[in-house]
């Protein structure tokens, strides 16, 4: 499988839009026929088809040394300062869900893409695409939520734009946010820097966002108390980077979940990874919902978690720093980078055996029996 790299700078929609009964298919990565003349929902899934779009359409036309790095944010230099720039569009359905809404998600998502580059977020822009007929009160609620999210993160929204399209041309409302931040001195984080021996950490329970969203969708009759973990992670990152400079890479495992993020890092750094199944934090409710729906929490989206690859010498220091922060209370070391089986993520199961944890390619559609 070719390396698949997610890009914040050229990211396609985080949550494909379609009507409710089809959302499960959209939630996972539709494969396998090669895309030919039309865009499929799978092109927005962050998996193989998204990578194909980058390779075949975007990079040939737009490629340049900054864009070609394909990190979650672009890092550029200006008068000696290093700036991080990222942009992201939000098309989540439903607009409101347990633990958040499209507005707070749009603020958090872009802040997080900056934070994963080791940047302090400075400013945000916001652009709305509104569908004719949308209730003004709905927009008001979303904007109030954005204000709340941006001000508690301390990152002002400094410019914006609004467009309205005819009824039927958008699903209520879509939001794009762009963020600019300043990269800390001496910090250089990249998915290509993982080295054998490094520890792999996650900042808390996995799968909360994806399950909270699924629970809201029609056609899936289950109830859960699980809330989206949507949160701005820049202060957690600052706390971590204050504690250790031995962080090689930070990523937020959104679309495609932990497995996609780890596979991207493994491919980018040409290393293997070994995870310890029993160390991976997943809430009991999320495990239960996943069992029922035939999903694997390793592939379910998160919006307030980070994955850190840290030099072995500083792994404990990093873990303690994460755990000391409210957003990292349940952080854990879940595995290590290996020289063996390069570009493969291997799980040591609870039974002591091993198996591969693959890119999202087929396990996330509902099972027949």
């Amino acid at each position: 499988m070719p390396p698949i790299t997610n890009t914040g700078a050229m990211r396609s929609p985080a949550e494909p839009v379609n009507d409710d009964t089809q959302d499960l298919a959209a939630f996972s990565c539709p494969l396998p026929l090669p895309a030919r003349d039309r865009i499929l929902l799978g092109h927005g899934s962050g998996g193989k088809l998204s990578a194909d779009l980058l390779k075949d359409v975007f990079l040939p036309a737009l490629g340049n040394p900054v864009l070609n790095r394909l990190e979650d944010q672009a890092i550029v230099s200006l008068d000696g300062a290093r700036l991080a720039i990222t942009t992201d569009s939000f098309v989540v359905k439903p607009l409101f869900f347990r633990g958040g809404d499209i507005g707070s998600l749009a603020v958090h998502g872009t802040i997080n893409d900056l934070a994963m580059g080791g940047a302090e977020p400075l400013w945000l822009s916001v652009a709305f695409i509104l569908e004719e007929g949308l209730f003004t009160e709905t927009l008001r609620r979303v904007v109030a939520s954005m204000h709340q999210a941006a001000s508690s993160a301390g990152v002002p929204i400094v410019t914006g734009d609004t467009k309205v399209v005819e009824k039927g041309s958008a699903d209520g409302l879509f939001i794009n946010t762009t963020g600019i931040g300043r990269v800390r001195n001496g910090i250089s984080l990249s998915a290509s820097q993982a080295q054998p021996g490094d520890a792999i950490l996650v900042s808390g329970f996995l799968g909360d966002h994806g399950i909270a969203i699924l629970a809201e969708r029609e056609g899936l009759q289950f109830e859960t108390q699980v809330q989206s973990d949507s949160a701005a992670l820049h202060s957690l990152v600052a706390h971590l980077l204050d504690a250790t400079r031995e962080v090689r890479c930070l990523r937020d495992p959104t679309r495609g979940g932990l497995s996609s993020t780890l596979n991207e890092i493994a491919a980018s750094s040409n290393v293997g990874m070994e995870l310890n199944e029993t160390a991976i934090p997943v809430r009991e409710e999320v495990r239960g919902a996943c069992e029922m729906l035939g999903l694997d929490p390793m592939y379910v989206a998160n919006e307030g978690k980070l994955v850190a690859v840290v030099a072995a010498s500083d792994a404990q220091k990093a873990l303690q720093a994460l755990q000391a922060h409210p957003l990292g209370h349940d952080a854990a070391i879940i595995g290590h980078v290996r020289a063996e089986h390069p570009r493969m993520v291997v799980m040591r199961t609870a039974l002591g055996t091993t198996r591969i944890v693959d890119m999202l390619a087929g396990d996330q559609l509902p099972r027949i029996c």
Partner: protein, 365 residues
């Protein structure tokens, strides 16, 4: 999680594996029938735990895999019709037909939906009376009752715009075909627990008395499967052949009578073609003439669609347990889940896909 964690308990699992290794005097060849069981064996690395004590080969029990290519082409034809809403289980959307798949038909404007339950498709038909709702119904004996119930429900509601494209296969005729093959090497079977929950164990007794082969009805968690393997090894070592039930928390001897009655009202046994294997006599279910109004093949007069499988694929050998997925020269190179050459690489429950997804690190290349 209660009723799950105890069946994934590492200590119990390792204890069972040790007992199997101790009791096994030669590498017995066992087959698990169901793709769900194959999936568990690969996902938990049960083969690693067992070493050479038993040799596990994988059966034809993946419904998505054995659905004939021409049936998938029929579904694609239906999905492309402007007045049809095609509804199915998620797995079916990615299964390639001869030229395209349902995701592509959807992108080209076809109305394709995913549901968890066929009764959701009936509801959909009720809520959009101006469209023909076709449920693409694949599966073994396990899903047949729900599909029968959907038709009975549509009948009760007087719906004229609901039909199903049915592709049902039955497990015992497949086991019989396998045991009759001169190249058969399987010495004992793990029977599919969900199928037996519906149909009971009687048909498996017939197989045992005909072929003198041990059969244990097994569940789907690691401890279930290890326990079933242990029970089979004990039978083999003692020279017995009986039907035993490991999955007692779900399977009763008589099965589920209400489910059987629903199936018998709507379906009748018929010859069926299995993708990768070919035609097997009386190995499937077809919709009875009295319910022809709900049979999409007849409602839409789809006729004969012929389709050819890629020549390189050895799926028949894999589905019959003659070969392992990794014996195929195309495995993992020219044949992957993204570009499957044949049936068992198509669905997550297919044996080739399970090997590819979980075990390819352990395959010497």
């Amino acid at each position: 999680m209660k009723y799950l964690d105890e069946y994934r308990d590492a200590k119990i699992a390792r204890g069972l594996a040790a007992e199997i290794r101790r009791r096994s005097t030669r590498p017995w060849v066992l087959m698990e029938i169901c793709g769900g069981q194959t999936h568990t064996l690969m996902r938990y690395g049960i083969d690693e735990l067992l070493g050479n004590a038993v040799h596990l080969v994988h059966g034809p029990g993946c419904p998505v895999c054995v659905t004939p290519l021409e049936t998938i082409d029929r579904a694609l034809t239906l999905a492309a019709m402007p007045d049809v809403t095609l509804v199915s289980y998620g797995d079916m959307l990615r299964v390639p037909g001869s030229n395209t798949d349902l995701f592509h038909v959807k992108a080209e404007g076809g109305d394709v939906r995913v549901v968890y339950s066929p009764t959701d498709a009936v509801q959909l038909a009720g809520s959009q009376p101006d469209r023909n709702v076709v449920f693409f119904a694949v599966g073994f004996e396990t899903t047949a009752p729900a599909h029968a119930m959907a038709i009975l429900q549509a009948e009760r509601l007087g719906l004229k715009n609901f039909s199903i494209l049915a592709s049902h296969v039955l497990v015992p005729p497949a086991i019989r075909t396998l045991l009759n093959s001169p190249r058969n090497r399987v010495q004992a079977f793990i029977a599919p627990g969900h199928v037996c929950t519906v149909v009971g164990m009687r048909e498996y007794e017939d197989l045992v008395s005909e072929f003198h082969v041990p059969i244990v009805v097994g569940g789907f968690e690691p401890v279930d499967l290890l326990e079933a393997i242990r029970m089979l090894v004990v039978q083999l070592e003692e020279g017995r052949s009986e039907v035993e039930n490991q999955y007692v928390r779900s399977v009763q001897y008589e099965g589920n009578k209400a489910a059987q009655e629903a199936v018998a009202r709507v379906f009748e046994v018929a010859d069926r073609k299995w993708r990768g294997i070919g035609p097997i006599p009386v190995s499937g279910l077809r919709i009875k003439d009295s319910y022809a109004l709900y049979d999409a093949e007849r409602v839409f007069q789809l006729g004969c669609v012929c389709a050819e499988e890629p020549a390189e694929c050895i799926s028949a050998e894999v589905l019959l347990g003659h070969k392992k997925p990794t014996d195929c020269v195309a495995f993992g190179t020219r044949c992957t889940p993204e570009k499957p050459l044949g049936a068992p690489m198509v669905s997550s429950e297919g044996a080739c896909a399970a090997y590819y997804q979980y075990r390819r690190h352990a395959v010497a290349r």
